[in-house]
Amino acid sequence: MQLYDISLKGLRRRLGRMALLLLSLVTAVATVVTLVSITRSLNHAVAHRLDEFGANIVIVPQASDLALSYGGISVGTAAYDVGELTLADLEPIGSIPNARNISVVAPKLLAAVDLGAGQVLMAGVLFSEEVRLKQWWQVRGAYPSGASGPVASTLGGHAPTALAVGRDGPSTEVLLGARLAQTLGLEPGDTLVHGGHTLLVAGVLQETGSQDDDILFVDLSLAQEIAGRPGEISLVEIAALCSDCPVEELVRQIGDVLPQARVSAVRQAVALRMETVGQLTQFALIVSLVVALIGGLIVLTTMLGAVAERRQEIGLFRALGFRRAHIQRVILGEALLISLAGGVLGWLAGMGAVLLLRPTIAELAMESPWDPILALVTLAGALAIGLAGSLYPARRAADLDPTTALRAL
C-alpha cells in the first residue's frame, strides 16, 4: 500500500462522481483539441489562400528613374516602355532554396498603345498565371485561350512558366478592363485592329475598382511583338506561400539570383495576411482559455465536494500519522490520475471530432491532425487544469484536524 494506491482506490470508490468529473475534463479537452486543430488548419488554409490571393513580391528592373504605377505599385515611368528584364532572366528563380514556396510567377510587359481613343496601357501577360494571381477577377465572355490550359509551374523549382508558352505563335485573344471596354464600346466577341494585328475580345473584366479596369490585357508574346521588344518584360509579380517562411527571406533569395532586378515585398498584403491569421489564433486561444477555466472550476468544485465527503477518512489518515503533505499527495494523486485519463480520452475524442468535421469544413488543406506536439501539450494542459483545480481542495484536506474529522474522538 502506497499513497498512490490510496489515490487509485479512492477514485474507484467514488466512481460515479469521478466519472462525471472525467466526462467534464474529456469534454473540455476535446473542445480545446478540436478548436485548436481546426483553427490551425483554418490558419493554414487561409494563409494558403491569402498567399495565392494576389502578389506579395514584385520584381522590377534595377533602374533609378522608374516611376510607373501599376496597381498601386511603382513600376516605371510615364513612358511605359522601360524594360530591362527578359524572360530568360527569370530562369534562376526556379532554383532558389525556397522555390517550393513560390505559387505564381506572372511576368508582364507594359506598353502604351494607341487604339484610336487615346493611349491606353497594354499589359502583356501570361493569362494562365495572371488568372491564378488575380483570383478575384470575374469575366464576361471567356478568358483568352491559354488562361485555363495546363501551364508549367514554378512550384517545386520548375522552369518559369514564361518559357513554356508562345511556341505556337502568340494568341490574338485579349481581355479588356471594364472601363476600357466601355470607352471603346467593345463586347466579348468583338474585334479590334492594331498595328496590323486583329485582336479578338475574348472577355471583359467585371469592374474591379483597380487600374485593371483601364488596361488591355494581351498575351505576353503578342505584346512583345506589338511593342517591338521581343523577350522583354517590365515587371514580374510573384505570389509566394509565405505563411511558413518570412517573405523577406524569399525576397533576399530572389534578389540574389536576379542582381539586375529590384525585388521587393508588398508589405501591406503580408501584414494583412498575418493579421487575419493572428486573429483566428487569438480567437482560438481565448475560447480555449475559457474552456480550460471552466474545466478547472469543475475540478475545483468536484474535489472540494469529495474532500468534504471524506472528512472522516482524511481524519483517519491524519490520526495514523500522515503528514499534511501526504494528504495533499493523496488528493493530488487522484487529480493527476483523472486528469491524465481526461487528457488522453479528451485528445482522442478531439481528434475524432476533427476527423468527423474535416469533410464538412470546406476544402481544408488540413495537415495530418495526429500531431505529437499537440498531444503532449494537450496532456500537459489537462494535468495543469486538474492539478490547479485540486490544489485548494488538497490544502483544505491537509488542514483538517484529526479530531474534528474523527468524530469518534
Partner: protein
C-alpha cells in the same frame, strides 16, 4: 512514558467556554494497561485525544518519553503518531472499499519500507489477531468481531509502543467485545502500553489500572489497579 502536567482543555461552544478538562496530572508508565473510565461527557475522549497527539491542550503539557509533544510542529506530531501510537477507534474506522489486508496496510502506507516487507508485516498482524486467512475480505464481508480485530491489527502493524483504544467494545456484542479486550491484553502482555477509554464495567476488568474521570477532572482517591489475577484493586490516586 506518558506524563501530563496540569493539563486543561477548554472549548468555545457558541461563545461560551466549556471546560472539558481541568488540572489533569497523570503519569502512565511503560507496559501499563490503563482504562480511563467515566460517564459520557466526563472528558475521557478529550483526554485520549490529547494523549494521542491530536488535540493540543489549552493549558499544561504532555510528555511522551520526555518529549513535550505539543511543542513540536504539527508535522512532527504526525510523525510521533505514526511512530509511537496505534489507534483503535470506537467506530473502528475501517475503509469499506479496502480489504482487511489493505486496511491494515494503511498503517504502513507512509512507512519507508519495501512493498514486500509491508505486505509481510500486515499479513503477520492479521495472523496475530487470528484473521490470517481473511485478508482479502472487505469489511462488509466480516463479522463485527472480525472488523474489530482488523482495527487492532492496523493499530499494531507499525509496532507502536503505545496503543490507544477509544471505547473498543462500544459497538460490539459482549462476546466480541471480550475478544477485542483479550487481544488488547495480549498486546499489553507482549510489551505494548495500552490506554483505553471506556464506560463499560466489563471492559475495565481487563485493565490493570483504572483512571476514573468526572467532569473533566481525575477523581482523586478512586484510581484502581488490578493484580495479576485480573481483580481490581484500589490504589492511591495519582494526583501530584
Amino acid at each position: 512514558m506518558i506524563q501530563l502536567d496540569n493539563v486543561a482543555k477548554t472549548y468555545n461552544t457558541n461563545g461560551a467556554p466549556v471546560h472539558a478538562l481541568q488540572g489533569v496530572n497523570l503519569h502512565i508508565a511503560e507496559g501499563e494497561f490503563a482504562a480511563i473510565v467515566g460517564p459520557s461527557g466526563s472528558g475521557k475522549s478529550t483526554l485520549l485525544s490529547i494523549i494521542g497527539a491530536m488535540n493540543p491542550p489549552s493549558q499544561g503539557r504532555m510528555l511522551v518519553d520526555g518529549i513535550d509533544v505539543y511543542s513540536l510542529s504539527v508535522e512532527r506530531q504526525a510523525d510521533l503518531r505514526h511512530e509511537y501510537l496505534g489507534f483503535v477507534f470506537q467506530q473502528l474506522q475501517l475503509l469499506p472499499y479496502l480489504t482487511a489486508l489493505e486496511n491494515v496496510l494503511l498503517g504502513l502506507a507512509i512507512a519507508r519500507m519495501r512493498r514486500a516487507d509491508k505486505l509481510q508485516r500486515a499479513q503477520e498482524a492479521l495472523e496475530r489477531v487470528g484473521l490470517g486467512s481473511k485478508g482479502d475480505r472487505l469489511p462488509g464481508q466480516l463479522s463485527g468481531g472480525e472488523q474489530g480485530r482488523v482495527a487492532v491489527a492496523r493499530a499494531l502493524v507499525n509496532a507502536p509502543p503505545l496503543i490507544l483504544a477509544d471505547e473498543p467494545t462500544g459497538n460490539l456484542d459482549s462476546a466480541t467485545g471480550r475478544q477485542i479486550l483479550a487481544l488488547l491484553q495480549e498486546l499489553n502482555a507482549a510489551g505494548h502500553t495500552v490506554i483505553m477509554v471506556t464506560h463499560d464495567a466489563q471492559a475495565t476488568a481487563h485493565a490493570r489500572r483504572i483512571i476514573p474521570i468526572l467532569d473533566g477532572r481525575l477523581v482523586a482517591g478512586e484510581e484502581a489497579a488490578t493484580d495479576d489475577d485480573g481483580e481490581n484493586k484500589v490504589d492511591r490516586a495519582h494526583d501530584d
